[in-house]
């Protein structure tokens, strides 16, 4: 495609040539006068701070021009505003424009592509060209677009609670910088971020203010891992696992596919779970963890171990491996440890150790970053003894300069060494360790300047709170998981003004506050050393990353003596009788609390517990019995002097005497979405035991709290052989087509229909395409990224906690999670995740029963919904065997889901329906509307909706093909030219979508797999979704190996087998 030339309007000879912000434009008296004359109502809108439709259009125009050009072109540095009324020549109305960018996180930048419609980003996709992403994304990248349009964002520069403005803020900063001298008394507190530009600015600031202190704090950080790496391998280097190189993986409390992982780790793992035939070689995963995680759920062998006993477990493992290998360094390290406090199933440890030993150099032992540094050093020693260093574990040079910890900063504040504290992002008042009493310390500082995305707990105790920009509003750069250099570019002008982190640091570094990519360009020049800058920069932005910039592995050398020294004298806490350990986990949804105000994330059920809108204390059924508490019962957990009253939920597969609580909930100063969600576990955390604490006491309070679960029933009810089929690798080899003959399918006679629907028999006569999907249960870990992707793509409303509790969530795709066991009271059931969406039955039961023809079959085999035609009898949903249809019980898109915030003290959220009554306010906020996908209808109340296989994408591809082929008549869409939102997002490649009429398509090939089966085949609904049976790769020597997968086998005779754990959920 040739590059389009932008015909700019002729610029006026005099006056301001362009404006950067609405404020600038709106502030001219001429403009105001004109506006009032032309649009008396519009003028009123311009006065407020809200984004209205009118000024949004202008913003949009601005960002279009700023954005410059499409994914396929290169970017113009000029900044022009093109009012939308003129029509933007290179923008095709209704067509999205794609830009690469990257989302910062503490684990590195996620390379992304942002989809913008008319200048507003509406959807986030992974960058398909970047090896870390390959088009996949996680839940947080998907949901970040909603954060951009969060109505509760910090919108104003606030000085001591009073609204101020950017100019005053800048002036105040100038005063502070001028008075800072050599930087003594100046302290920065930031979040972890590997941006090279930030590092560069850090250097500049250090030069200008040599005495200024630089603190990085992450409540769920990797400081223990860094400490361990420093002890085991020497400083300046981090140990990075290469998961796809490992044949046998042992995870010790490391949720590397969940909260401790990212798209990259999931891809590396699932690459080795891909089964193309009985000859496929799979990796094997052993997991020792205290609670079920998605990692434990996909494991071949899992053992429940309290988090505090993981060290002892590692020691037992080390003993086995040391005995076998006689590795001197390991023996030295292991003997330096104290004696283990707990005995483990010796056979489990022994056999798994043998398996690791058999795979020397191709095995990998991972340890959770929450474990004490000594334990992590010990695991490093095990890996070294197994010869994994340099093979499945490589070194990565640390790019960030060392920073001090928040404890050290606290001490500085106590010592009156801090006069000016600059906090960028983060929320230390909420999430700093309890013993630091951070709020008091922060209050004692003379001047606290905060750049924050929300006016949150920390902002409440700051002298200045300036709005922080979203990454989709600002320039930036960073390093992806593989160390490659990625670009961050804005899609839209800051909606509410605001500064980026780099803007503020540049200011302190004495640079001009950047108006564009200048800062990044400078870093880019230094890093990429381009021979020709303009082209290289354009390519950098276009691709989203710098080619061949992935980090080269650093040599790692395990230092046995140093390791032994590091673990000497480290004792392991024992679990005392009657006391409990409390494990603080990151939340898969709201992380450490930073995403608390994101409605999509709040409403996505937790991948394991299926709780929406809350966290809870996870306890094993046996421990719950001991405590005398049931589901939803409130328990009081006391650690030291602090007591937390938290709702408990019985978690199958949880270690005994262990309580897991996700962090990030119970915020006090938060937007209306995050208000009254969950319980704040931070007050139980201290500097010495930040991730788990032993010696806690717990007791039932007798009170209860209603948790909203999207899945109330946990058991498979003996239906595993019908719903979630699986076999071990050996069984699969012996009988490759095992999945075809399980459950009902083993008995039913062939389905015969008296009426043969001509279009069904010869669908290609009507349309060359037939859409279908394959879901691979072998790689699906249940992370639920697909759910958020679907929510974002299809304008799925959130309904709020009460409605979820009523069973009315709207997700078009869900992840069913079952616990399966042959024994009802099994404390150690297996876990199965199964994504479930509309199966697009060829003989759809929903279609025949709709009295008004609102749900019908399309020629390309979709089960389509005509919202306009639907009157809402709900008969289709009743007759859907998969229960994937969702009904708009209320006007979810028009009513404020969080109307309850009007009554903030009301914790009894289940008293009635008052949020939905006639008096509640109608209408969504304009900013919220901006996040909608314009190609998808926003549904009203009273209509049914469900997965459409992203029909808007199908139609777009069809139109594009028809336009391209012109009169040739070959309207078949090129093979796998597009995919659905869920399939696109899936980091494990578990979902494949495509044309089953096209034998070349990936979906056709997968459908041919002998592992394929369709759910409830006996109903003769002819679903278009095929599930590929799960294959487990257990070690036959392991204790209990023969029972693996037993729960999903057909029942033997009439014996009651395959029953649930814990009865009703």
């Amino acid at each position: 495609m040739s590059k389009r030339i932008l015909q700019h309007p002729t610029e006026p000879a005099t006056g301001r040539k362009y404006w950067r912000s609405l404020g600038q434009l709106g502030d001219t008296p001429e403009f105001r006068g004109w506006l009032t004359r032309e649009f008396p109502q519009g003028a009123a809108e311009m006065q407020g701070g809200e984004v209205s439709r009118r000024n949004f259009l202008q913003l949009m125009g601005a960002s279009m021009a700023l954005a410059g050009l499409s994914f396929a072109g290169c970017r113009r540095p000029e900044k022009h505003l093109v009012p939308f009324t003129r029509g933007v020549e290179w923008s095709i109305p209704g067509k999205p424009i794609f830009y690469t960018t990257a989302r910062p996180s503490r684990r590195g930048y996620a390379p992304l592509v942002a989809v913008t419609h008319d200048g507003r980003p509406t959807k986030i996709e992974g960058n398909p060209q970047h090896p870390v992403s390959k088009g996949a994304t996680d839940m947080h990248s998907q949901s970040s677009v909603l954060d951009l349009y969060d109505t509760d964002r910090a919108r104003f520069f606030v000085k001591k609670g009073e609204k101020s403005d950017a100019a005053a803020f800048e002036k105040a900063l100038d005063g502070l910088i001028g008075a800072a001298g050599d930087g003594a008394g100046l302290a920065f507190l930031l979040e972890k971020n590997n941006s090279p530009t930030r590092e560069r600015l850090h250097g500049e600031i250090a030069k200008k203010f040599p005495k200024a202190s630089w603190t990085v704090y992450e409540p769920l950080g990797t400081e223990l891992a860094d400490e361990a790496a420093a002890a085991a391998f020497g400083g300046g280097v981090a140990a990075v696992p290469v998961i796809d190189k490992a044949d046998v993986i042992m995870s010790l409390d490391c949720d590397f596919l969940g909260v401790e992982g990212d798209v990259n780790t999931i891809r590396e793992f699932s690459a080795r779970r891909k089964v193309t035939g009985p000859g496929s070689k799979m990796n094997r995963l052993y997991v020792a963890e205290n609670r079920y995680t998605v990692t434990g759920g996909i494991a071949d062998h899992r053992v429940r171990v309290p988090a505090s006993q993981i060290g002892a477990f590692a020691l037992a493992l080390a003993a086995e491996i040391a005995t076998a290998t006689k590795d001197a360094a390991l023996v030295q390290t292991a003997t330096a440890f104290g004696t283990p406090a707990m005995q483990f199933n010796a056979e489990w440890v022994k056999v798994s150790a043998e398996d690791l030993l058999k795979n020397k150099g191709a095995s990998l032992v991972l340890v959770g970053s929450r474990q004490p540094a000594a334990v992590q050093v010990l695991v490093a020693a095990i890996n070294a003894a197994l010869g994994n260093i340099g093979k499945t574990i490589v070194g990565r040079k640390l790019t960030e300069k060392p920073a001090q910890s928040i404890a050290e900063l606290s001490k500085d504040i106590d010592d009156k060494k801090v006069k000016t504290l600059v906090i960028v992002g983060g929320n230390p008042v909420y999430n700093a360790p309890e013993d630091l009493k951070w709020a008091d310390r922060q209050k004692s500082v003379e001047m606290v300047v905060r750049l924050g995305y929300y006016e949150d707990e920390t902002a409440a105790h700051a002298h200045w709170n300036a709005p922080l920009t979203h990454y989709l509003e600002s320039w930036g750069d960073g390093l992806a998981a593989d160390g490659s250099y990625v670009s961050v570019q804005p899609m839209i002008l800051p909606l509410f003004g605001g500064w980026s982190e780099l803007d503020l640091l540049a200011k302190f570094a004495g640079l001009l506050k950047p108006t564009g990519p200048e800062l990044i360009q400078e870093t880019f020049k230094a890093l990429a050393k381009p021979t020709e800058f303009v082209g290289a920069w354009a390519k950098f932005l276009h691709d989203g990353f710098l080619a061949d910039s992935a980090a080269k592995p650093e040599a790692l050398k395990f230092d046995g003596a140093a390791a032994a020294k590091a673990v000497t004298g480290k004792s392991l806490a024992a679990l005392a009788e009657g006391a409990y350990e409390v494990v603080f986990t990151g939340c898969a949804k709201v992380d450490d609390g930073r995403f608390t105000n994101n409605g999509w994330l709040q409403e996505i059920p937790d991948p394991i517990t299926k709780i929406a809108w809350d966290n809870a204390a996870l306890i094993s059924p046996a421990t719950a019995k001991k405590l005398g508490v049931e589901d939803n019962g409130l328990i009081a957990i006391t650690v030291g002097n602090n007591t937390l009253t938290v709702a408990a939920i019985l978690a199958p597969g949880h270690a005994e005497n262990s309580i897991s609580i996700a962090l990030g909930y119970g915020r006090t100063v938060v937007g209306q979405v995050g208000a009254h969600t969950g319980f704040n576990a931070y007050p139980l955390r201290t500097t010495t035991s930040p991730y788990f604490v032993t010696g806690a006491t717990a007791k039932a309070t007798g009170k209860s709290y209603k948790l909203a679960l999207t899945q109330e029933h946990w058991a498979l009810e003996g239906r595993g052989s019908d719903l979630t089929r699986e076999a071990t690798l050996e069984e699969y080899k012996a009988k490759p087509d095992f999945a075809k003959k399980m459950g009902m399918d083993a008995h039913i006679p062939p389905n015969v229909s008296l009426y043969t629907n001509p279009p069904l028999n010869k669908p290609e006569s009507l349309d060359p395409h037939a859409w279908g999907m394959v879901v691979d249960l072998n790689t699906c870990i249940g992370c639920s990224a697909c759910m958020v992707a679907c929510q974002s793509e299809n304008n799925i409303p959130i309904v709020g906690k009460e409605q979820v509790a009523e069973g009315r969530e709207m997700h078009w795709i869900r992840t069913d999670r079952y616990f399966a066991s042959t024994d009802k009271n099994d404390a150690d059931p297996e876990m199965v995740s199964q994504p479930m969406m509309c199966q697009h039955c060829e003989n759809a039961p929903c279609e025949t029963v709709c009295p008004v023809n609102a749900t019908v079959h399309s020629e390309d085999g979709l089960n389509v919904m005509a919202y306009n035609r639907c009157i809402g009898t709900r008969y289709c949903a009743n007759n859907c065997p998969f229960k994937v249809r969702r009904f708009n019980f209320f006007d979810y898109n028009e009513r404020n889901v969080h109307g309850r915030a009007k009554n903030p003290d009301d914790r009894k959220l289940f008293t009635g329906l008052y949020e939905w009554n006639l008096t509640s306010e109608r209408g969504a906020e304009d900013v919220t509307k901006m996040s909608k996908n314009p190609n998808v209808t926003v549904r009203m109340r009273g209509v049914m909706e469900k997965c459409t296989f992203c029909v808007q994408r199908i139609q777009e591809a069809k139109i594009a093909t028809k336009v391209a082929v012109r009169d040739s008549g070959d309207v078949r869409i090129p093979t796998d030219a597009f995919t659905t939102a869920c399939a696109q997002a899936c980091p494990a490649d578990a979902i494949t979508f495509g044309d089953i009429n096209n034998p070349e398509s990936a979906v056709s090939k997968l459908k041919a797999s002998e592992r394929g089966y369709r759910l409830l085949e006996y109903l003769n609904v002819g679903s278009r979704v095929t599930y590929l049976a799960r294959i487990r790769n257990p070690n036959t020597e392991m204790p209990g190996a023969k029972d693996i997968g037993k729960a999903v086998r057909p029942k033997q005779g009439h014996k009651k087998a395959g029953h649930e754990t814990g009865g009703k959920h």
Partner: protein, 473 residues
């Protein structure tokens, strides 16, 4: 054969129990039935009518509240898409079966005892169908678009889906209602003329006159009347059987375990007649108490006969329940088995609704067995008690079918408990208010007993009748 020919003798004619006791004369019948309408409104009527109409108003408020806010004010969820709404619909439509059955089928089969109860039973039918008709109307998400159900040409060019049982329902119920109204009104015409002739106030005269359609009682009119009534009875008879069969298709043609079963049409029809007769008795027995003058018209014999029908149909229903259980077992289908044995009977299941199943079993199958005993069939208190059980049981039957089947169907992940909201409860209670208010109005303003037909079954109407010499009274 030869033997029987030999022994064949004419049995001695048994004396029939008179349908109108105490040998009442035609005038007496006219006077007594008309007096209900003509006398001053009794106090008890107001005592009954005011609370009933108040409850009806509450019901209407709830309907308005639900329509203006959304179906979400009910307790339904993603899994249980129908609950009290359709339960109530099927419950009321079932009740609406007895009246037309009494009027049409018993008319065609020349069951003379029907004459003194058919008018009230038919009226009850209409009011029950009115109550039933509310629910499919209001339960949809977008009530204002409900006209999409009608097969009328429109700009969209889309017809309703003729494959959908819900559409069949629309046709079946509306046809049934229309024919029932016509049938009832046709039967009313001669009696309206009687009231017109007896009316003292001008307004009453005028109104009864209008609705009596100029009835003069001429032979020609009677001939036309008899033919029309016979034809309507013929039309109504298949409708009695078809309506509930069609309603049962809502479930039977689906694939939900517990719904998908071929036994439903006969089972639903039997259940409807069962529930309908119970409701007729529930209404008539108190009416009889309030109007002692009706004792000679609605006799113990009527109650006895209706009790027998309740016993018969109740036993058919019980048989159907057991057949369902057997078929679930015999099918070997674990999903079917789960629905019947675990979800309904509560075996090895949390059994959210097992209690409802046992309530249904007791009320519908066990309690009518009392009617094997004749003294129970003629004991008004016993009959009333059983009828109340049946009314409750038949509601629970529909609840069990609808809710237990939906709440736990194929995928355990989607299983959801359902419980009603106050709006649902009061909407249902409100329909009782509507039903009773309408019936009370009917009692006040229309002859609740078909006077001219009752006269036909008196000895006086027999051309061979010879008045007994010794007067019986």
């Amino acid at each position: 054969m030869a033997e029987s020919a030999v022994t064949l003798t004419t049995p001695k004619e048994l004396e029939r129990v008179p349908l109108v006791t105490n040998d009442r004369k035609h005038t007496w019948i006219t006077d007594k039935v008309s007096s209900i309408v003509e006398e001053r409104t009794p106090l008890w009527w107001w005592v009954a009518f005011l609370p009933c109409s108040l409850i009806a108003m509450i019901g209407l408020f709830c309907i308005g509240y639900q329509i203006s806010n959304g179906v979400g004010v009910w307790g339904e969820n993603k899994t249980v898409g129908w609950a009290w709404d359709i339960t109530n619909f099927v419950f009321w439509i079932g009740i609406g079966h007895a009246g037309t059955l009494i009027s049409a089928i018993l008319f065609l089969t020349r069951q003379k005892w029907r004459t003194s109860i058919n008018r009230a039973a038919e009226a009850m039918t209409l009011f029950a169908v009115v109550c039933a008709g509310i629910f499919p109307g209001i339960h949809v998400g977008r009530v204002w678009m409900a006209w999409f159900l009608a097969p009328i040409p429109n700009a969209n060019g889309i017809w309703p889906n003729f494959r959908s049982p819900l559409l069949w329902d629309v046709f079946a119920v509306s046809t049934y209602f229309t024919v029932s109204v016509l049938f009832w009104y046709t039967g009313l015409v001669p009696d309206l003329a009687t009231l017109r002739d007896r009316a003292k106030s001008r307004v009453a005269k005028y109104l009864y006159g209008i609705f009596a359609l100029g009835w003069r009682g001429s032979n020609r009119q009677w001939r036309h009347y008899e033919m029309a009534y016979l034809l309507l009875a013929g039309l109504s008879t298949p409708l009695v059987l078809s309506v509930h069969s069609v309603v049962s298709f809502d479930f039977a043609t689906s694939i939900v375990p517990g719904w998908h079963t071929t036994i439903f049409p006969p089972y639903f029809v039997a259940g409807a007649i069962f529930g309908g007769f119970a409701m007729v008795l529930t209404i008539l027995l108190p009416a009889r108490l309030l109007y002692p003058q009706l004792d000679d018209l609605v006799t113990r014999q009527h109650v006895d006969k209706m009790s027998k029908i309740i016993l018969l149909t109740g036993t058919i229903v019980g048989y159907a329940y057991l057949t369902e259980l057997f078929m679930a077992y015999y099918s070997g289908n674990p999903f079917e088995k789960f629905t019947f044995f675990s979800a309904r009977m509560g075996i090895d299941n949390p059994g959210w609704y097992a209690w409802a199943y046992y309530v249904m079993m007791f009320c519908n199958v066990i309690s009518p067995q009392l009617f094997w005993i004749k003294s129970m069939r003629t004991n008004y208190i016993a009959v009333m008690t059983v009828c109340m059980f049946v009314n409750v049981g038949m509601w629970f039957e529909r609840f069990v079918i609808i809710v237990t089947s939906l709440a736990q169907d194929f995928l355990p992940s989607s299983w959801r408990h359902y419980s009603p909201s106050w709006v649902e409860i009061w909407t249902f209670v409100g329909t009782f208010g509507i039903f009773l208010s309408l019936f009370l109005l009917f009692m006040r303003f229309l002859p609740m007993i078909c006077m001219f037909e009752v006269k036909l079954v008196t000895p006086e109407a027999d051309p061979h009748h010879e008045p007994k010499k010794e007067g019986q009274h």
